[in-house]
Amino acid sequence: MASRGYAGAMMKTFGAVEHTLTVAAVDDVTPHYRRITFDAPTLFDGQPIEPASWVRLWVPDPRRPGREHQRGYTLLDPDPETRRVSIEFLIHEPAGPASAWAAQAGTGDTVQVTRWASGHFAPPDPAPDGYLLVGDAASLPGINAILAALPDTAEVRVHLERHQEHDTLIPVTPHPRATVTWQPATGDPAALADAIEERDWSNWYAWVTAESAATKHVRARLKDLGFPRGDAKARAYWIRGQAMGTGRDHTPGEETPTTGTTRNHPATPTAAGAPAGASAGRAGSGGSAAASAGWRSRAGARLLAPLRGRLLLAGAFQAVVSLVQLAPYLLLVELCRRLLTAGPQAEGLAGLGVGALALMGGGAALAGLLVAAMHVLDARFGHRVRADVVGKLARLPLGWFTERSSGRVKQAVQDDAESVHYLVTHAVLDVVAALVAPLAVLVYLFTVSPALAAVLLAPLLAYLVMSARMVQASAAELAGFTVWERRVGAEAVSYVDGLTVVRAYDAGPAGGFRALLGERARFLERWQRPLVRRRTAVDLVTRPLTSLLLIVVAGAPMAAGGLLATADLLPFLLLGATFGSQLLAAAFGLGSVRDALAAARRIGLLLVEPELPEPRLPRPLPGAAGRTVRFEGVGFGYDARRPVLSGVDLEFAPGTVTALVGPSGAGKSTLAALLARFHDVDAGRITVDGVDLRELSQAELHRTVGFVFQDVSLLRASVHDNIALARPNASREEVERVARAAHVHDRIARLPDGYDTVLGERARLSGGEAQRLTIARALLADAPVLVLDEATAFADPESEHLVQRAISELVAGRTVVVIAHRLHTITGADAIVVLDGGRVVQRGTHETLLAAPGLYRDLWQAAAAPLETLT
């Protein structure tokens, strides 16, 4: 085995797994850029190879045989089928071991790699507005892999620095929205950073993998431009004038430090000649950290901002409490000392006892105070967050409320709010307590006897090494595990939900599912069985008794040799046996802090969703009875490139029924939704009696435009309140009147408490009944413009005639727009608008449209089904 120095030894200790790659093909892409394809029989058993995944490559030292160096290289085009993978090597001048190896590599040559502690590109969630990729020829393989992985819709900027003449010949993966700029390396390490323009980079994501000094400059520049830490991933890929794998930087691509003005950094000799004023000017103009205020990724931090100070304070307080709680043990040590020196008749023993008692009481009181304070803080904060969410909901466009977004609301106000609650009331305090107490003990023990304290660290180190090795050993299974969990999870859901089918068709997936479960169990067992011994060993190492034995075995000779007073063993015996396991427990607490931060981010993201702009000065509608609605050149699309409606000009007159007809996907529902301002139009405008919808106040808009859709939403409130939702002051008589008109009064009368019955668990309404209740609601709201989904009338075949009658009642005398699914129900409409592909293709009445060839006639004929009757 070649000598790999300290880094190699460390990696081995922590369980790095090595793979041998064999050169299968060599292809010179440009004169100094070489693509080597390898056979990698074992590489694919490990964790999946993501875009820009990299490996540590062990290459021989050309000058010192037997010695190997470690260099980072990016894995490209992994093919698990053929078990092949490629690496592209920049052959640079001056060469180093890696480029020299690549320059002379031939088929059949082998090289060893490890994926130990390596990373890859992980697309951030939520998706950023754009990607800024900065690097040079050496990082182009990674950047290319990222470009290939990015969605076509993402905006991408690629900034590359050219260090050698032919660099620009290296192909860049094409991407429809990417702009690529090459700039020559001038020797100024800040040049790359300076080239990043001053603009609003909010919600962009940066990936910086350039030369070390350049990377540091870019990092600082991005910070000035407002990039939050997590949105700018920077890693140096090489160092000018220095080998990557030797000296202090013995592992490739150590993350560069983020803080400090990089100008004065001693590691960049070339920087000395650069103009000194440049960076100061930049830092001032960038708007610094304040610029990151609008970043979505900061949403969580913003949400928690008001808590931060208090949580820090609470943490500090908890640290004090922990120390106070530790103090009785110190008294115990003192007690024992006195007993040893003066025997049981020593003085002041009772005093120590009283002191201990007082400290205990004091500690408990302080802890209780803290717990109570945190609960008050939490209750206030939780209330504010929920109230903010409620306020936010009122300002979001109605179109936002899809099923998926309702899920987000639910997640935010229930699960996520609970995580944050846990953070405030438990997690922070737990983590601080779990860290402070053992650390304080450790410090104390070191002051007593550094040597013996150091001995106590041995089990802790052993633990760390052993568990790191275990993690390494199961890297492959860990990836497999998530796949299995997802698969079994999905199958279990479908198995239980589909139990009727499973039973009706016995074997099938039931058998399959059972087999799947068995396979998964075998997988878990195959994975865990070999680990059992190691796990047990890890457990035993951290046992208090193990530490105790260490203390006695190491301490007794020390005491015998005079290195240590015998009495100095006391603190170790009393406090030294458990601090290790306590320290490990802190790691678990950190898990829930992480969860809570993620939860806070989700809530924060909800709170920064784009809102529906409210007019600053709402215009009132002219006081008239009937309302005329006009679409003028309306265009709209859910995403910019795919319009759903374009160039729609329509007028809906008061007292008329207009039916929207067309094949599914023609834009009927979207048109209707725009009328109720579910979304704002992209082009043109929609007016009510000449006033743009966007100029109306929300309240006026919704008083004017009402709608009845297929999906009904009843609140868990009384029937009366449900009907009177839009007019809370309505009297019982009015409510009853509309309920009768909607043919639902009789049903309500049969409910246990009539109109006061609370809907929900006990009183359930059938689909048709709920439908009629919403119609009653719309009748009471009495909006002059009404949008209707005709499918509503057929929601419940058993009572459709009642729903139909209710609808007939509702539409009388209003400006009605109806989304029609069954043509024969709208033959009597005053106007029929035929939509296709987002445009109005025909308009007229049933008779005129039927008279001429066209889409309407085709649709009518396709649907014409003779009504079959008896007799």
């Binding site: 115990l332 106000v413 015996l573 309240a699 009504l867």
Partner: protein, 576 residues
Amino acid sequence: MMIFDVLRLAGDRAAVVRYLVLLVVSAAVRAGAVLTLVPLLGALFSAGPGAAAGWIALLAALVAAGWAADRAVAAAGFAIGFELLSGMEARVVDRLQRIPLGWFTAGRRAEAQRALTSSGRELCQGVAHLLTPVAGALITPPLIGAGLLLVAWPLGLVALAAAPVLLGAMWASGRCLRAADDAYTAASAEAGQRVIELAQAQPALRAAGRTGVRGTAVGRALDRQRSAALRLIGFSLPGQVLFGLATQAALLGLVATAVVLGVTGELGGAQVVALVIVAVRFAEPFATLAELSPAMEALRGTLTRVRSVLDAPVLGADAPAPVVPDPGAPALELRDVRFGHEPGRDVLAGVSFTVERGTTTAIVGPSGAGKSTLLALVARFHEAREGSVLVAGHDVRRYDPAALMGGLGIVFQDVYLFDASLYDNVRLGDPDAPDERVREAASAARLDEVIERLPDGWDTRVGERGAALSGGERQRVSIARALLKDAPLLLLDEATAALDAANERAVVAALESAAGRRATVVVAHRLSTIARADQVVFLEDGRVAEAGAPAELLARGGRFAAYWRQREQAAAWTLA
């Protein structure tokens, strides 16, 4: 005791006994090691390191023996764990196959799913990583206490008395914290529910200008949530402080006892010190228990989920020897069948009718009349409370469940598709059918045109719950499946408006083509289907209001005739 509950799930008695014995041995060795500290430290502190050498050697030997014992315990625990791992989920599946569907509420469904996905793993980990240390921590302190009786009996007594006190404090702490969590979750769920409702009712609320928190139901719910969160202090405070306080108090008591023994001259200074240190060791396992208690809670959850499935009622076969269908008997007969989902509220209150072989019966009636429930009873998804359901001459309860299912074709309203290819989903109807028949069934159900339209054709994956297909398309898959199965009794729940008119006619024709061989019971909504039936059973309020041939019932001018007229009117309705 939860430990035993978990172990009871394991089948291998001998392994469990072995594990328990080893647990006790390991705890005894550990207690022995701790007790060795008394003479060891006594010697060390009074006579110096040299005098303690022998005891140190003994301690080393005991610690080593403890390691060996613990390794054996771990191995035994893992053995049980792996048994649970490989067997548990299969047992859950077996049980789920035989539980009446009425048992599955939304909550239980979710529990069953979780039991299926993770119970094996969680129980395995539970035994290996949780039960072992917890049991060790429970057994060791009393053993140390007992040992102390021999060394200094008053101290032993105090220790033995402290153990239950500490356990009690821990239990109380845990209860308080759990109560606090539950109360918080409940209040939070209530507030959350309100916010979600608010999201759904936005348009109406915006019209009324009532979208804020002031004076609204949401506002009130949020206020309640805030006060509930504040009230938690009452639970949280003792929960977070009590146990720590108890531990310190117990320790203080032990130390005081030891010191008093010294003061009264019964023990020397070094011995007292040794006992103080042992007292600290005595209290240690309780801290371990407290740390593990959240994980124990989680394990309890797993256990409850698994138990709730494994203890659920099952559909038993009544007869000692399951029956075979009687070819001469009517296809289906209901005799005074009564059934309710909850006691006291019967959905079906005495239903009787007969479906002759090869005929079609349409079940008709207003919503909530119990039509779908009736079909579910025939398929034995539920059990009739009274009366009997006879399929091919025998009560469904006397069939072997698989044999009963073998004789039924089922097309229900909630069509369920598995996330597999279209082909696999149809193929379910008869896994052994040749490709040709699968294709025939598909084209009879008009599925062929769907398949043609899809880029991957037969190999199209239907997505989770068939999400990749429209309602009508899913319906066709389910019909094709039933056609392929070609069972003598077809149960059909006509899905509303799932098929358009032209396709409907074709599908009906396909279903009818086997008439004569097959009897069909259809919950019918379409007038055309009703009109073609040989018999109409009109259900109302869980009873058969009328039954007979459609024309005959129409002529009678009763409930069915009125229903028919309404439906005809509805079909001819026009808006405006």
